[in-house]
C-alpha cells in the first residue's frame, strides 16, 4: 500500500506488456489462417469419451448433481476428434486455438492445462504441411534455419542405429549397451526412450527441427506407408512443440487404432473409456484426404521470447 492507501502494482506495466505481446502473437496466427481462407472453429471441451491414447490421461468431470441428472464428462486432451467430425461433414480447412487438459502431466515444461493450436488442411501431404508451419513461424518472426530429417536418418546420423530394421530383441540389446533399463513391453516404447536419450540431446542444437516418417509402431493416427507412418514432430532446441499427421481416413482404420491403444491401456491397468462411436458414425463416409497438426502455444511462444 502506498501513502494514499492505494495498492501498488509495481509490475503492472510489464504484465500489460506481456499480455499485449501474447495478444499480438495470437492475432498474427489468426491473421495467417484468415488470409489463407482457413476457418476458425470452436469445438466442445466436454466430451463423452476419454481419449484412447495409452499415455495421455483425460480429466474426468462430474456435472449436474443439483439437477439430479448427474453425468460424467471428460475434458478434451486435444480438439482432434471434434475437428475431424467437422471435416467429415464438409467444413473444409479449419483451425482452432483452445485450452486442452491432461491428467498426470505436470513439470517444468508440462502442465495439466495448456493452449493448443490445431489445424487441418485438405488435399495436402505431410511435407506440404511442414512447409506451411514454416510459413507460420516466419509470420511470428521466427526466421531460424530449419533442419528437416527423417526419424530413421536421425538415428543413423546421431546414434548409428538402424531403427526401422531393429526388432524387439535388437532394441533391448541396444538399451543394455547404453546402460539403460530394457524393461519395456513394446518396441515403440524402446524407440521412444532411445530417441529421448540419444537423439533429443543432439537436436537441441537446432533452433527448429522437423522429424518426419516415424516408425509405423508410433503411427498414432497417421497413414502408414511400409515401415513408416507419415507422422512428424517439430522440435525447437530439442523440445517437442508440434505433432502432425497425414491423416488416416476411414472409420475402420480409426477403430483399429483406438482398439490397439485401449488394449495397451488395459495391459497397464489404466482406466478405460468407451470408444467414441458418435465420431466413428460421423466418419462413415470417411475423412477427406488431409493433413493436420497440433502445436503447443506456450512452448512455441516461450521459444519466441528467447
Amino acid at each position: 500500500m502506498n501513502i494514499l492507501g492505494v495498492p501498488n502494482y509495481p509490475q503492472m506495466s510489464s504484465v500489460k506488456e506481456k499480455l499485449l505481446q501474447h495478444q499480438n502473437r495470437i492475432r498474427t496466427i489468426r491473421d495467417f489462417f484468415y488470409s489463407h481462407s482457413i476457418v476458425e472453429v470452436i469445438t466442445p471441451s466436454l466430451l463423452i469419451s476419454p481419449t484412447t491414447d495409452v499415455y495421455i490421461d483425460s480429466i474426468e468431470v462430474s456435472v449436474n448433481h443439483a439437477l439430479l441428472k448427474s453425468s460424467n464428462f471428460y475434458l478434451h486432451t486435444s480438439p482432434e476428434l471434434e475437428m475431424k467430425r467437422l471435416l467429415a461433414k464438409g467444413s473444409g480447412d479449419i483451425f482452432q486455438i483452445c485450452q486442452v487438459f491432461r491428467d498426470n502431466e505436470h513439470g517444468s515444461i508440462n502442465s495439466n492445462e495448456f493452449t493448443m493450436l490445431e489445424f487441418y488442411r485438405l488435399g495436402i501431404d505431410m511435407h506440404q504441411l511442414i512447409e506451411e508451419i514454416q510459413e507460420l513461424l516466419i509470420a511470428l518472426g521466427k526466421n531460424d534455419i530449419v533442419k528437416k530429417i527423417s526419424y530413421a536418418q536421425a538415428f543413423f546420423d546421431y546414434a548409428e542405429i538402424d531403427i526401422l530394421n531393429s526388432n524387439f530383441e535388437d532394441l533391448k540389446n541396444i538399451l543394455k549397451s547404453h546402460g539403460l533399463s530394457a524393461d519395456y513391453d513394446w518396441i515403440e516404447d524402446m524407440q521412444m526412450v532411445l530417441f529421448v536419450h540419444l537423439i533429443e540431446p543432439k537436436i537441441k542444437t537446432f533452433p527448429v527441427c522437423f522429424i518426419y516418417d516415424f516408425p509405423k509402431q508410433q503411427a498414432a493416427l497417421a497413414k502408414i506407408d511400409g515401415l513408416v507412418a507419415h507422422r512428424f514432430e517439430m522440435y525447437i532446441n530439442g523440445t517437442e512443440i508440434a505433432n502432425g499427421y497425414q491423416e488416416i481416413e476411414t472409420a475402420n482404420e480409426y477403430r483399429d487404432r483406438f482398439e490397439t491403444e485401449l488394449d495397451k491401456r488395459k495391459s497397464l491397468s489404466k482406466s478405460i473409456g468407451s470408444i467414441d462411436e458418435v465420431f466413428l458414425a460421423d466418419l462413415k463416409d470417411g475423412l477427406p484426404p488431409c493433413s493436420g497438426v497440433a502445436i503447443g502455444i506456450e512452448r512455441l511462444f516461450n521459444s519466441l521470447s528467447l
Binding site: I56, E105, G107, N110, L180, S181, D189, M192, V196, Q218
Partner: protein, 186 residues
C-alpha cells in the same frame, strides 16, 4: 533404500553401475504420445566423470551412502594424504588418484570437504578460496600497481597461478580453487 524417479533432484546421491554418483541435472521429458522419462546427468563421485542416463518414470535407484564432512588436512607421507574429522578425531587417508585438484591447494591444517562412501574417503574438495605463499616468481616492475599485466608465480603447494606484476616472493595471495585464479593479496 531406493529413490524413485519422482524423488530425483540435483545433489541426490545414488548408486549407478556400482559407483556412487550425484545428480547434476534432472530433466523430465514427456513425449506427447509417450510415457514420461527422466533424462538425468550424473557425476561419478569416484572418477569425476559425467554420464547421462534416461529412466522411465517409476524406475528407482539405490541410494548411495555418501557423506560430505568438513575435515582438517594433516599431512602427506608422499603416498597417502591424511585427514582428520575434527569432531570424532577419526583419521582418514586418500591416495594421489583420489586427491584431484585438491593437491594444488591444500596446505597442512587447512579445512576441506572429504566425501565418504560407506565410510571410506573417495574425494576431497578444497575450499573455494585458499591463501597460499609465493615461493617463486620473476621480480615485478616497480610501480605497477594497476594489475594490468601478469606473470606466473609458483605457490607453496607447487601450483602455478597468474599474478599481477607487483606480487613478490614471500607474499601471501588468495586463489579461487575453482578457476585457479588470483583474487587478491592476503
Amino acid at each position: 533404500m531406493n529413490y524413485s524417479t519422482s524423488q530425483f533432484k540435483n545433489g541426490l546421491k545414488l548408486m549407478l553401475d556400482g559407483n556412487p554418483c550425484s545428480i547434476v541435472n534432472n530433466e523430465i521429458v514427456k513425449p506427447g504420445k509417450g510415457q514420461a522419462f527422466n533424462r538425468v546427468k550424473f557425476k561419478d563421485l569416484i572418477t569425476g566423470k559425467t554420464l547421462e542416463k534416461t529412466f522411465k518414470s517409476g524406475e528407482s535407484l539405490e541410494a548411495a551412502d555418501v557423506m560430505e564432512l568438513e575435515m582438517q588436512y594433516l599431512y602427506s607421507d608422499g603416498e597417502k594424504w591424511h585427514f582428520m574429522d575434527p569432531e570424532s578425531y577419526e583419521q582418514f587417508d586418500l591416495g594421489r588418484e583420489s586427491m584431484g585438484n585438491a593437491l594444488n591447494y591444500l596446505v597442512e591444517q587447512d579445512k576441506c570437504i572429504v566425501t565418504l562412501w560407506n565410510n571410506n574417503p573417495i574425494s576431497v574438495s578444497p575450499p573455494n578460496h585458499v591463501t597460499l605463499e609465493v615461493i617463486d616468481t620473476d621480480p615485478g616492475l616497480k610501480g605497477d600497481t594497476a594489475g594490468t599485466g601478469g606473470k606466473p608465480a609458483t605457490l607453496n603447494t607447487g601450483v602455478v597461478v597468474q599474478v599481477p606484476l607487483f606480487v613478490a616472493i614471500g607474499d601471501k595471495v588468495k586463489v579461487d580453487t575453482r578457476t585457479n585464479e588470483y583474487t587478491g593479496r592476503a
